[in-house]
């Protein structure tokens, strides 16, 4: 069975001539999207790639101690290594001292195992006085830790170019000396709590937003134009106000001598000398985030509800469904795409929210993003910040995937 080729009137196969005719248009279309494509590439794809890269990049130390690591390849990691490893160490450290670039390595190694800081500092101070040959003995004489195999094992563990140790740290796990994955020491376990709190806050903020937004969106969609416009402005006005202004005004409202506390005292729900703390804890985070994220729930719900014809509810009633039955069997199922879109939007925004928890959250209300900021700005452990960021990103993608499986992403309606 051979398919007959269709020719256009000038004898060229139809398919080819169609492509030729379309080529110019395609090129034009490409030119039009090129700026956006470049923009996305530079400001979105590239930084995310960089973040992924940084979170696993561990080459710095490999580059600084090249000879040591080459020599260590032959070492089994059981007893103390032989002379070549110490010779390599001597050469690498001498070079670092000459270039004065040993600061970073101290921090990195001390992070791997505490005690390295003094060890390296002392060694570098005395390294010029070493005589040639028999470095192993001389090194142990400088500091006895060079004679303890756990330090050399820790050193060896830093050899690979890539490491996922930051990710382990992000979930309160770590490597022990034998590179087994174990739990972090109990007093240093903070990330699991932080993750759970973040997810918990995002979940409840989504629920609160849904409860508040559903009736508002319904009113917006059904009220006569002049009222619904006014209501719409009420929804959008805070949305147009700066995030910082809104968060700070919540601080004014929620503080211990603030109007909400005054009201609570006036109503007699609390004694004046025992005012409840509404801020610098998780309550403040809940209240402020719910208010700030509310429009992201209202708008998708509204856009879906507006498309639901009022005659559907009437039909439901005329067919004998009580208002409640009609609502749950007809109206509610039709708003699910909006609920999905709004919840996804609010949850994803909430899970990475930064400013509001930073300002009103205090210690018990701060979220994972605040910790990322801390590592970016204070501890300067960018690799770890990147790892946390990547975990957050993967988490969001996972939620998106689950949502797609459950509801179907095509069913999302944002407007």
């Amino acid at each position: 069975m051979s398919k007959e080729q269709i020719l256009s009137s000038d004898g060229i196969p139809l398919e080819e001539s169609l492509k030729k005719a379309e080529r110019k248009n395609k090129l034009k279309a490409l030119l039009l999207v090129a700026p956006l494509f470049l923009f996305i590439l530079i400001i979105y794809i590239f930084p995310i790639g960089d973040m992924l890269f940084r979170s696993v990049d561990d080459r710095m130390i490999t580059k600084m101690l090249p000879k040591t690591f080459v020599a260590m390849e032959k070492w089994d990691g059981q007893d103390l290594p032989d002379e070549p490893v110490y010779e390599g160490l001597y050469e690498d450290l001498s070079l670092l001292k000459k270039n004065k670039t040993f600061g970073k390595i101290i921090a990195r190694l001390n992070y791997e195992k505490s005690g390295f800081s003094s060890l390296i500092k002392k060694t570098i101070r005395k390294i010029d006085k070493l005589e040639e040959g028999n470095y192993k003995e001389q090194f142990i004489k400088i500091h006895k830790r060079w004679g303890q195999s756990e330090y050399l094992v820790a050193l060896k563990n830093t050899a690979p170019n890539w490491s996922y140790a930051k990710y382990l740290k992000g979930v309160d796990l770590k490597f022990d000396e034998k590179r087994n994955i174990i739990q972090q020491d109990e007093d240093r376990r903070i990330y699991k709590t932080l993750w759970l709190r973040t997810i918990n806050v995002a979940f409840w903020v989504t629920i609160f937003c849904f409860i508040l937004a559903y009736p508002i969106a319904h009113l917006l969609a059904t009220l006569p134009m002049k009222y619904s416009n006014l209501l719409m402005i009420c929804v959008l006005l805070p949305f147009w106000t700066s995030l910082l202004v809104r968060t700070s005004s919540w601080m004014v409202l929620l503080q211990q001598q603030g109007p909400i506390n005054d009201l609570i005292v006036w109503l007699g729900w609390a004694a004046d000398d025992n005012r409840p703390e509404l801020m610098y804890n998780v309550i403040g985070t809940f209240v402020a985030m719910t208010q700030i994220l509310l429009p992201f729930m209202v708008l998708p719900l509204y856009s879906v509800m507006k498309t639901i014809s009022p005659s559907l509810m009437r039909a439901g009633k005329s067919l004998g469904g009580t208002p409640l039955v009609s609502f749950f069997k007809i109206y509610f199922p039709l708003t699910i795409p909006g609920i999905g879109a709004g919840s996804l939007l609010v949850f994803i925004l909430a899970i990475g929210y930064y400013i509001t928890p930073a300002l009103v959250g205090g210690a018990s209300g701060s979220l994972i993003s605040n910790n990322i900021a801390y590592h970016m700005k204070s501890s300067l452990d960018w690799a770890f910040a990147s790892a946390l960021g990547t975990m957050l990103l993967v988490g969001v993608l996972a939620i998106y995937w689950v949502y797609n499986k459950l509801v179907g992403i095509d069913n999302i309606k944002l407007g």
């Binding site: 014809s309 559907l312 009437r314 439901g316």
Partner: protein, 361 residues
């Protein structure tokens, strides 16, 4: 047929804004098993009446009775009235089966019986085998039929239809008109149908209520409505109509003389204008006037053909007659009428009984 005031509107007023009455003192009786159409231009209050009957609007004043019960205080879902909406209002997230089963399920009818009823309703609109389809997968006409089937599936005694055929194309609309009419004849349900399309109303109804300005202008059978309109609005709204404005100069029995603005007198049938000196608009259907009348008709005048419009089975003439430049004449297509040309003078005659002197416009 049973109860002759199965549905009764008694002095019903309706106002939305407290300033204007959309429905004014409406009185209307509908017999059980009847097919009554509310016909009127948009804004005439017909849909409002339907909505009050369905329970989605409350009358500002007056009472509505259904089967001798006042229904103003009964919420829509307890009235048991089937309804077909303008845009069908099928539930888009339910299959055809679920749509039809909805009224049965809320009535707690067992699944077996529900299946039977759904099957019966679907066969009524010849849509068996479509149970699993979603409404979006159906054509407009099919959706329409599902909507009709759904309004009938729970055996209501009364079905309301709010311009159900408005969104369909002409051919489909016509075939659906017959289909709905046949369903009505077969199951004997009372139907109140709202439309602004007079052909639809004339084809389908037992009786038509012509609405204008919040009032029923005339309630009668289609032929009565067409042949004997009681006022100018009805004459103008239903079918084609030629009018002459004038003044009654003489009345004798079932005839009167009307002096037209062009000072010529014609003989007419006094319907509304019964006293001498009354202003009137005389109405005459185009097909009741004849060219070159042979029998002695009591009106016989000369007119000049202004325009000839060919319509296939008939030819339409626009004639300047007695000062009315838009007098329309219908001439059946036949071989001996080939001499009709623009500018020609012709004799036109009609009987005074067909020429109704109504209220002035």
């Amino acid at each position: 047929m049973g109860n002759d005031h199965f549905v009764r509107f008694e002095n019903v007023d309706k106002s939305y804004d407290g300033k204007q009455l959309v429905v004014k003192g409406l009185n209307l009786d509908i017999e059980e098993g009847e097919f009554v159409t509310m016909l009127g231009p948009s804004g005439s209050g017909k849909t409002t009446c339907l909505m009050m009957l369905a329970g989605f609007e409350t009358p500002t004043n007056g009472q509505i009775y259904l089967d001798n019960r006042v229904i103003s205080d009964i919420p829509p879902h307890k009235r048991g009235i089937g309804m077909v909406f303008q845009n069908y209002a099928l539930f888009p997230h339910m299959t055809v089966y679920e749509n039809l089963a909805f009224p049965l399920r809320v009535r707690k009818i067992s699944k077996d019986e529900a299946d039977k009823k759904v099957d019966k309703a679907l066969s009524m609109v010849s849509l068996q085998g479509f149970e699993a389809r979603m409404p979006m997968q159906l054509s407009g006409g099919q959706q329409q039929r599902v909507a009709v089937a759904r309004s009938l599936v729970f055996d209501p005694k009364l079905v309301l239809m709010d311009e159900p055929l408005g969104a369909l194309d002409k051919n489909l609309r016509e075939s659906m008109q017959y289909e709905i009419k046949h369903i009505h004849e077969n199951i004997g349900v009372t139907v109140v149908y709202v439309t602004h399309d007079q052909t639809e109303a004339l084809t389908m109804s037992n009786r038509i209520a012509v609405f204008n300005d919040g009032k029923v202008q005339q309630l009668s059978s289609p032929d009565e409505l067409y042949e004997r309109p009681v006022n100018s609005f009805v004459a103008e709204f239903i079918g084609e109509n030629n009018t002459f404005a004038g003044e009654v100069t003489d009345v004798s029995g079932d005839k009167c003389k009307v002096k037209l603005n062009s000072n010529i007198e014609i003989i007419a049938n006094p319907i509304v204008a019964k006293t001498i000196g009354q202003k009137t608009t005389v109405s005459l259907r185009p097909e009741r006037a004849i060219i070159d009348p042979e029998a002695a008709m009591d009106n016989n005048h000369k007119g000049k053909i202004e325009e000839v419009i060919y319509h296939g089975d008939h030819t339409r003439l626009r004639v300047n007659l007695l000062g009315n430049k838009d007098f329309i004449l219908k001439v059946p297509n036949s071989s001996n009428r080939m001499d009709i040309k623009e500018g020609k003078e012709i004799n036109i005659g009609w009987n005074s009984i067909d020429c109704r002197a109504l209220d002035p416009k």
